[in-house]
Every structure is written in structure tokens, then in C-alpha cells.
């Protein structure tokens, strides 16, 4: 396996897992009736 391939694998892994967790956070928060609220707006 050449080194370029390795870098791609690592990058892909991180991107995929990152997206997965982002979706997951969305899911977890919305199942509790909350937005993800990344812009620091206090609720109510």
C-alpha cells in the first residue's frame, strides 16, 4: 500500500466519523426537542 493511499484512508475515516457524529448530535438533541444551537443563542 503506498503512502498516498494511506493518507486518503485516514482522511476519509475522520471525515466519515466526523459527519456521523455531527448527525448523531443532531439526532440526540432533536429527539429531546432541542436545536443543535451552535451559534450560542440561549434558549427562551
Amino acid at each position: 500500500m503506498n503512502s498516498g493511499n494511506t493518507v486518503v484512508i485516514w482522511l476519509l475515516s475522520f471525515v466519515a466519523v466526523g459527519l456521523f457524529f455531527y448527525g448523531l448530535d443532531h439526532l440526540v438533541m432533536s429527539s429531546q426537542g432541542l436545536p443543535l444551537n451552535l451559534n450560542l443563542t440561549p434558549v427562551q
Binding site: 466519523v17 448530535d25 429531546q32 450560542l40 427562551q44
Partner: protein
């Protein structure tokens, strides 16, 4: 006239509890003779039921209101302390004997699947340890029931009125449990191979079904006392037995105790293995008990990891049942004990990590991972320190005076829940990392996608850790309370995903892996002390959490329904409770040593006298 009524009430009460006492004594007496007298005892139990139902009142009757005078005083002893010790001892043993068959069944099954007789022998040895413990459980249960009826007769009368025939179902299940247990254990070698083995496995399954049913039936008593259901505001029974049992806390407690029992049981047999390892003379003996200790630790740690989440669910249900009760537990007088809890869980995590690291000496392959240990140790230590940082508490004036301010001026930001949530989740993730490294240390993956799998695993760790920290810091410190609670779920899910993904990826990636040479028994004596630290901490922790669970009721026997009028109807201070926990832990320790001794006695054979 008045005294006549009182007398009638008394003799009524007396006759009822004498009958129940009789039933209890029967249960205890029969625990060792089950097979022979099962039929008789069913008749006896039925007779008791008829007798008891004759006393049931026609109109709805609430819970009695009691004053200090209604509680019999026996000698100078504190009734609460007596019942406390007996109940805790009974629970320790019950947890142990219910848990062992659960993992024994799994190990036996693994033995069948892998056709490796070592598993079968180990499973049998685990059972052997729990057999003596079973009799002790029954004895303690009987003594506890006796003490309860003697010291809290009106309360017990009320509980019997509420639960009625359910108690008889419990008694019947107990007989069944004993019967199946003895059959399972003593038929081990009779039903060892071929189809007979599956008969034996079915017995094991039946044993666990009965055992778990026993557990949930008994749990209903405790959860009814905390959050009664199926009764009206005065305590009069309005629902059927199912409604009474199915209170809001029943299932959370069921799950929590079920998992905790397995962790506890694993820790105890781990101590057995460690003891045998240390006193073992031959290499074969050492190798066998090293492996047994390792398996026990595996069971204890793996079932310990999801426990905080079960606890989280339980506390969430407590809050939604009664905010007042939740706050009493987490923010009032009892909040202090979560510092002790942190010390205990910290001990458990550090001990099990230490054991895993020591165990890496069994194989050369562990060299690859050894550099990570110091970082894991660092994270665990920091997490532990954050966790024991005193919590920001809701305090009464008296407490503020004792502490000197409600917030610690320097450690304030670390003393709030988000910081602790980060710490706990990171400790769990890194403990799992230790575990995973250990599992990998004697293997080399041979599948073609191993580098990708590895990258994926590293990415999951990195992102999950980042997510845990982000959720805690961002939502915990920069937004309001609603988010704090919401984000803690996020952290929990992250941790669970690491554990789930780790187990899955490794299972696939190390299929048909190259196994590096490793040697059981090649482990330091010192590492075995971690296997003693675990059960000691587990035992103490269980006693501690029992104290919380029981104390949140405050001065109620049955929360909101039946007041506790006894002289001990207050929440004891943590120091006093700690002393009680130490007493029960030490008592349990000695009983367990006795059980170990009995178990090893059956292996000892006296040589026949040599004729001269």
C-alpha cells in the same frame, strides 16, 4: 372496650405475622431439602394464603399512621442498624448468587461452541464457589425477614396487605430456584457431552430465568417504597398486583441491579481466582487461576462500563417521579456521598486498568502498545481528580457553615456537572481503550482492510473524545440548563458508540488473526491485588448506593403514603453511614472467605492411611 379492641388488633397482627414468620422459616429450612418437601411446602404456602386472605378488610383501608410507640424495641440496639446490616448482607449474597449463573451459562455456552473443555471446567468452578453462598443467602434472607417482622411489624403488615399473594409467588419461585440450582450444579458431569449438554444448558437458562424473575419480584418491594403505585393517597390498595409492581422506578432499578449484579459477581470470583493464584504452587495451577482471574475481571469491567448509564436512567426517572426526591439525592444532604462514590469508582477504574496493563506482560505482542499506557494513566488520574472535586451543592445554613460557603472559590468551575460528565465519560472511554489494547496485544490482524479498520477506530476515538469535551464545555458553560441535560445524553451516546464500535471492529478485524505466543500465569503477584481492590470497592459502593436509594424517602416508609414514625426516621450523616458500610463490607469479606474455603475444601482429599 378500648383495650379489647387494642387486644384484638394486637392478636390479629400477631397471628398474621406469626404465620408469615412460619412461612419464612419454612423457606429457610427447606432451602437445603427442597426436592423432598416441595409439594408439602406448596400446600403449606396455600394454607397460609387462605388464612391471610381471611383477615383482609372489605373496605379500602389506608396505611396505618404510626408513632414511636408502635415500634417494638429489642434491647438497646437500633432497629434501623440491625435491619440495615441484615438487608445489606442479604443483598450482597443475593446479588452474587444471582449473577454467577448468568455468566456461568455464557461461559458454558462458549465452552460448547469452542469445544474447549477449559471453559467448561472454569464454569463449573465458578458455580462451586456460589453454592455455599446460596445457602448463606437463604439464611440471611430468613433472618432479615424475621428482623423486619419483629422490629417493624406494622410496616410489614402493610406491605403484606399491599403485595399479598405476590409474596407467595416469590416463595414458590425461591423453591424453584433452589431445585433448579441443585439440579444444574450436580448434573454438571452427568450431562456433559452431546445432546445431554444441551439439556444441561437448558437447565442453566431456566435457572437464570427463575433467578431474574426472583430479582424483579423482590425489586418491586423496594421500588414500591420509593414510588408507590396502585394505591391511593392514603395507601389503600386500588390497583391489582401488576399495577402495584409496575411503579415508575421498577424497570430502571431492575436494569441497574441486573447489570450491577453481574459486575459484582465477576469481581467476587475474580478475588477467588486471585487468591488461588497467589497461593498456587504449580505452574499449571498459576496458569489456570491467572486465566480465571482475567476472565472474571473481563466480566466485571465489561458489565461495569454501561452501569453509569443505567444509573443515569434511574436518576432521570427519580427526577420525573418527584423532583423533590431527585434533589434530595443529588443536591441535598446526600450529595456529599457522590464524592465518596467518585473515590470508589475511581478505585475500580484504576484497579482494573492497572490489572489490564500488568496483564500485558503475558505476551510479547504488547510492546507495540505499551507507550500509550502512561497517557491513559494521565487521563484517568485527571478525570478522577475533576470528579472528586466537591460538587456545587444546594445547602442549608447549617451545611454552609460546615463548608464555609456554598461554592468553592477556586474549584467552582470544576465542581459542576458538565465538568464531571466530561471526566466520567473520558475515564470510561480510556478504560475501554486499555481493555481494547489488552485484547489486541497478543494478536496481529491479517484481514486485508486492517489499516482502514485501524484508521476508522482511531477516528472514532478521536471524534468521540472531541465530542464529549465539546458537548461538556460548550453546552455546559456557554448555554443554559436545558442544553446541559440534553448534551449529557450526547456524551453518553458518544461513549457507548466507542464501546460498541470497538467491540464490533475488533471482532471482525481479528477474525483468523495471527496469535502471538502468550503465557498464562506470567503476571506479577502485585497485579492480583487489583483483583482484591475490585470486590472491596464494589461491595462498599453497593452499600453506599443502597444508603442513597433508601434514604431519599426521607422520613417515609412508603414515600407519600406511609410515614416512618420510628425514632430513626431521619437521614443519617455520611460518616455514620460510612461506618455501617464498613461493618457490612468486613462481615461480607469474612463470609466470602468462608465460602472460598468451603469451595476449596471439596477438592481436598485425605490420603488413606498407609498400612504398615
Amino acid at each position: 372496650m378500648r383495650s379489647g379492641v387494642a387486644e384484638a388488633k394486637f392478636s390479629n397482627r400477631l397471628s398474621r405475622w406469626m404465620l408469615w414468620l412460619l412461612a419464612v422459616v419454612l423457606i429457610v429450612g427447606l432451602a437445603n431439602l427442597t426436592g423432598i418437601t416441595l409439594v408439602d411446602s406448596v400446600h403449606a404456602a396455600e394454607a397460609v394464603a387462605e388464612e391471610a386472605s381471611g383477615h383482609l378488610p372489605e373496605v379500602l383501608k389506608g396505611a396505618p399512621e404510626l408513632t414511636a410507640g408502635d415500634y417494638p424495641k429489642v434491647g438497646n440496639s437500633s432497629s434501623r442498624s440491625v435491619v440495615w446490616i441484615l438487608a445489606q448482607m442479604h443483598l450482597f449474597f443475593a446479588a452474587f448468587v444471582l449473577a454467577v449463573p448468568l455468566f456461568v451459562f455464557v461461559i458454558e455456552f462458549v465452552g460448547v461452541k469452542t469445544r474447549d473443555s477449559r471453559y467448561d471446567d472454569m464454569a463449573h468452578e465458578f458455580m462451586k464457589v456460589s453454592m455455599t453462598a446460596y445457602s448463606i443467602t437463604a439464611l440471611l434472607g430468613g433472618t432479615l425477614a424475621f428482623a423486619l417482622f419483629l422490629l417493624y411489624p406494622d410496616f410489614m403488615a402493610y406491605m403484606l396487605e399491599v403485595f399479598g399473594s405476590q409474596v407467595l409467588v416469590y416463595a414458590l419461585l425461591f423453591f424453584l430456584e433452589s431445585a433448579v440450582l441443585y439440579m444444574y450444579y450436580y448434573s454438571w458431569y452427568a450431562l456433559r457431552y452431546g445432546n445431554a449438554k444441551y439439556v444441561h444448558l437448558s437447565l442453566g437458562l431456566l435457572l437464570n430465568v427463575v433467578g431474574t424473575t426472583l430479582l424483579v419480584v423482590a425489586n418491586a418491594w423496594a421500588t414500591f417504597m420509593m414510588a408507590p403505585s396502585g394505591v391511593d393517597a392514603t395507601g389503600a390498595v386500588t390497583g391489582d398486583i401488576w399495577e402495584i409492581m409496575r411503579g415508575p422506578l421498577w424497570n430502571p432499578v431492575n436494569l441497574h441491579r441486573f447489570i450491577a449484579n453481574i459486575a459484582f459477581g465477576g469481581a467476587i470470583v475474580g478475588a477467588y481466582a486471585a487468591f488461588k493464584f497467589l497461593s498456587g504452587r504449580t505452574k499449571a495451577e498459576k496458569a489456570h487461576y491467572d486465566w480465571m482471574g482475567y476472565t472474571s475481571n473481563f466480566i466485571a469491567v465489561l458489565s461495569f462500563l454501561p452501569l453509569p448509564f443505567a444509573g443515569y436512567w434511574l436518576m432521570a426517572e427519580v427526577y420525573s417521579y418527584s423532583q423533590q426526591m431527585g434533589i434530595t439525592a443529588m443536591g441535598g444532604i446526600l450529595a456529599w456521598l457522590f464524592i465518596v462514590q467518585a473515590v470508589l469508582i475511581g478505585t475500580i477504574l484504576l484497579a482494573s486498568n492497572y490489572y489490564l496493563w500488568s496483564g500485558m506482560s503475558r505476551t510479547e505482542g504488547s510492546r507495540r502498545y505499551q507507550w500509550m499506557i502512561k497517557y491513559i494513566a494521565l487521563v484517568l488520574t485527571c478525570g478522577f481528580l475533576v470528579w472528586v472535586t466537591p460538587h456545587t451543592l444546594i445547602l442549608s445554613a447549617k451545611e454552609v457553615a460546615a463548608l464555609g460557603g456554598s461554592h468553592h472559590h477556586l474549584l467552582g468551575p470544576l465542581g459542576i456537572m458538565p465538568a464531571k460528565n466530561i471526566a466520567v465519560n473520558l475515564m470510561l472511554i480510556f478504560t475501554f481503550l486499555s481493555f481494547q489494547l489488552y485484547r489486541r496485544s497478543d494478536k496481529v490482524a491479517t484481514v486485508s482492510w486492517a489499516p482502514a479498520g485501524n484508521a476508522l477506530m482511531v477516528a472514532i476515538y478521536a471524534v468521540a473524545i472531541a465530542n464529549v469535551i465539546f458537548a461538556g464545555v460548550y453546552y455546559g458553560y456557554f448555554t443554559n440548563t436545558v442544553y446541559k441535560v440534553g448534551s449529557s445524553v450526547m456524551q453518553v451516546v458518544s461513549t457507548l458508540i466507542v464501546i460498541g464500535a470497538g467491540v464490533t471492529i475488533d471482532a471482525l478485524m481479528y477474525k483468523g488473526a495471527k496469535i502471538l505466543p502468550s503465557e498464562w500465569g506470567k503476571v506479577s503477584n502485585r497485579s492480583q491485588y487489583a483483583l482484591f481492590a475490585l470486590p472491596v470497592a464494589f461491595t462498599w459502593l453497593m452499600a453506599l448506593m443502597g444508603y442513597v436509594r433508601s434514604s431519599v424517602r426521607g422520613s417515609w416508609h412508603v414515600y407519600t403514603v406511609m410515614k416512618d414514625g420510628s425514632p430513626d426516621n431521619y437521614i443519617p450523616a455520611i460518616g455514620h453511614a460510612g461506618n455501617m458500610m464498613t461493618i457490612v463490607t468486613i462481615l461480607f469479606l469474612f463470609c466470602v472467605l468462608f465460602v472460598f474455603w468451603i469451595a476449596s475444601l471439596s477438592n481436598t482429599k485425605q490420603l488413606p492411611p498407609v498400612a504398615e
